[in-house]
Subunit: 433 residues, 2 copies
């Protein structure tokens, strides 16, 4: 009997023929005369049936030795079966044990605490739920690249190791040869601005770092951020790009991850409503709305998570809050000419309690105003020489934003904590595995 090794994702094309599949046992069941093996190989799930009287005695013998997570090769004829996971079932005639799995496999079909699961993240990833999340993340990442590629943006990989620059608290530091201390980038934005002047439309896609003692379900010390920057875009263009981008990502996940979202028991109806335009609320207006709702917020305060929730609850899709007070925001944001107490910026807040997924702004393009802001914030002027050059030599209107990948994927998946949507999360008390 000839057979070929096939991945489960490709089995449908082999129906009616004999094939071999390699993978890991996830479920075992036997009536004494008929045995069932459910197998996963990462690309899909396959049920194999072994009928005792149809196979050699050693095959039936080997079945008795199987445990969950044993790696095996099974060979048999494939037939269509609408009730089976991948629409295909195998009548196994051969079974080979590749790697046994001791019965102390840590993850059992019962409730485990999240710390235990995170300690065994390398094995936890094998679960159906974690695979579904990983597939949604993969789809969103590819969608991000496709979105920008189709629109003529250049991807620019900005440095992780940087001299003192950007937001200054919560930095990871490392010795850098004779150059002193290097800091792990919290953003690629300033570099992105230089690249936008060179290439017009760019985006970054990389890890960013915050050495902050935050223990919320929305914080990681290492997370991935996507930061587009566009020459000649103003704050309005910027919000238009954001809503188009977010809607594109959600649509891609809905269109291509229906099975995964079902596995995650995600109610997709709120996602179906994520269509531009997103409501836009000026910060000053937001404060009035919040006061009417009983909040004690005063003009000038930053919005807390509760305030954000009060604003989002009136809408059926993400919203923008724009033009915050200057003091609440970073030095590089452009002063609002119509109200210099504020800057031309926005936060995009996701519904269903997920909150901020994007922060964006038009950048200060006035050399003198930028120098004033750097001084006012006590930042080291020398480190910003090259950044000021972008205003000295042909300054230009430009705007950009940063989308938090894990927050976005967590929202699309409907997972309560963002630690589940990255393969090996880094939290203030977790550096392993």
């Amino acid at each position: 009997m000839t057979s070929s090794f096939v991945r489960i994702e490709a089995l449908r094309a082999h129906v009616g023929r004999v094939a071999s599949v390699r993978g890991w046992v996830t479920h075992l069941r036997s009536s004494g005369k008929v045995a069932f093996i459910v197998l996963r190989d990462g690309t899909g799930v396959l049920q194999s049936v072994i009928v005792k009287n149809n196979v050699a005695p050693e095959v039936w013998e080997r079945f008795q030795q199987l445990t969950v997570e044993t790696s095996i090769a099974v060979t048999g004829e494939l037939r269509e079966d609408a009730r089976s996971p991948g629409g295909v079932e195998m009548s196994a005639v051969a079974l080979e044990i590749i790697g046994p799995s001791p019965t102390d496999y840590p993850i059992q079909p019962k409730e485990h605490g999240v710390d235990f699961l995170l300690d065994h993240r390398h094995l936890w990833l094998r679960s159906r739920r974690q695979r579904a999340i990983a597939r949604v993340r993969n789809e969103v990442e590819q969608a991000i690249h496709d979105f920008f590629y189709e629109r003529g943006f250049l991807r620019v990989d900005t440095p992780i190791l940087t001299a003192a620059i950007g937001e200054r608290s919560g930095l990871f530091a490392t010795e850098y040869f004779d150059e002193g201390t290097a800091f792990l980038a919290q953003t690629g934005q300033l570099y992105g601005e230089a690249a936008a002047a060179a290439f017009g439309k760019i985006y970054t896609f990389g890890p960013t770092f915050r050495a902050e003692k935050s223990k919320t379900r929305r914080h990681l010390t290492e997370f991935w951020m996507i930061e587009p920057e566009v020459a000649w875009n103003d704050s309005n263009d910027n919000m238009r790009l954001q809503e188009e981008f977010v809607a594109y990502l959600v649509r891609r996940a809905l269109d291509r991850c229906a099975e995964e979202l079902k596995e995650l028991e995600r109610d997709t109806s709120p996602l179906e409503r994520v269509v531009p335009p997103f409501p836009r609320i000026a910060y000053t207006e937001a404060v009035e709305i919040l006061k009417k709702k009983g909040s004690t917020i005063q003009w000038g305060d930053d919005l807390g998570a509760e305030d954000e929730a009060l604003l989002v609850e009136d809408h059926d899709r993400p919203i923008f809050i724009f033009n915050y007070p200057k003091e609440a925001k970073a030095f590089y944001m452009k002063e609002n000419p119509e109200d210099p107490r504020t800057v031309l910026c926005d936060d995009c807040l996701a519904p269903e309690g997920y909150g901020e997924i994007i922060g964006g702004s038009q950048r200060e393009d006035d050399y003198d105003k930028l120098v004033q802001r750097i001084k006012a914030e006590g930042l080291p002027m020398a480190a910003y020489g090259w950044y000021l050059d972008l205003r000295k030599y042909g300054t230009f209107t430009h705007a950009g934003f940063g989308l938090g990948l894990e927050r976005t994927v967590a929202w699309i998946c409907g997972t309560p904590h963002i630690r589940e949507v990255i393969a090996f999360p880094r939290l203030m008390n977790r550096l392993a595995p």
Copy 2:
């Protein structure tokens, strides 16, 4: 007169109409009655013509004030012109200066030393050559994602901050809360192996770090690496995937970056020959070839750059050298059952003097052999507990490799030093801008 703001890449669709373009001046020329402005906006290059007698005096006046890198808006009718860079020329009727550029603009049309250029990397990126390189890099990056997406690989983002693991010298270290010291990842491979057992076929795409005092044209302290890992692939499958992958990337660049490669004066005929299969030379055979060529190499020595060049010179495309001596390679490579002095691994060497662009191997899947190797190398066993779990619970044949992005792009572009193919290179003496 109405006009709309258009990016240069999209101007062809506006021929016969009036449009406005914003960008930076790259060249100026005037006969006294007719003036020419060459403008770049990152998406393309446009020549505008101003005829003194056809425009308002203040427009002509403003032209006199222009300098290189001044940012401007020009408005006028567009007409086809085959001799012009983008096939379009503008008859300008309006000109607005947005941001002047002082005449001390650092980068002048003369030879500059590379240290000077790197000190002004934020401005150097604006040159035609740097833009061409950035566009090739962008194309290669998108091609990488497309290659794996089309083949059902999941992208997995492995951590940068890691506990002690992997190769041990040349690590950047940082304090990590109460968890002790974290090290910046030199590879995502070990995590990729865990993910391959969960998802079947995966790849990583991220920055990696080497705190090594290397000052060659092939070394950066921070560079981007792509690391696929495939469950059930052996070393032969692994080399097949590598040659298919490399050929795909080169083909994409040839097909979609013809203009950029021309700008870089790249002779594309060697690239046209990059088609599988790539020649495969066993290490042991390579030693014999080198001896015949007069090398003093002995079996057991690692191959130096000169040895590699001697091997590559006989071939017209990349080659594989496979199955190196165990002592020359990392602990996780699988012992060769047919010659236990060697391991099942390969290096892929690019022609034209570019050398190693890929290192790959089948991974040791035998628990006991792996424990022995970890002990023999004096690595901290406790840190590898989770990695050993992958062999304890359903061990599996698997293989993967790491492709250096900058080395690959430098080869495709034909640039002598890899520092030119990343936006803001990090070298042992360079942390800024």
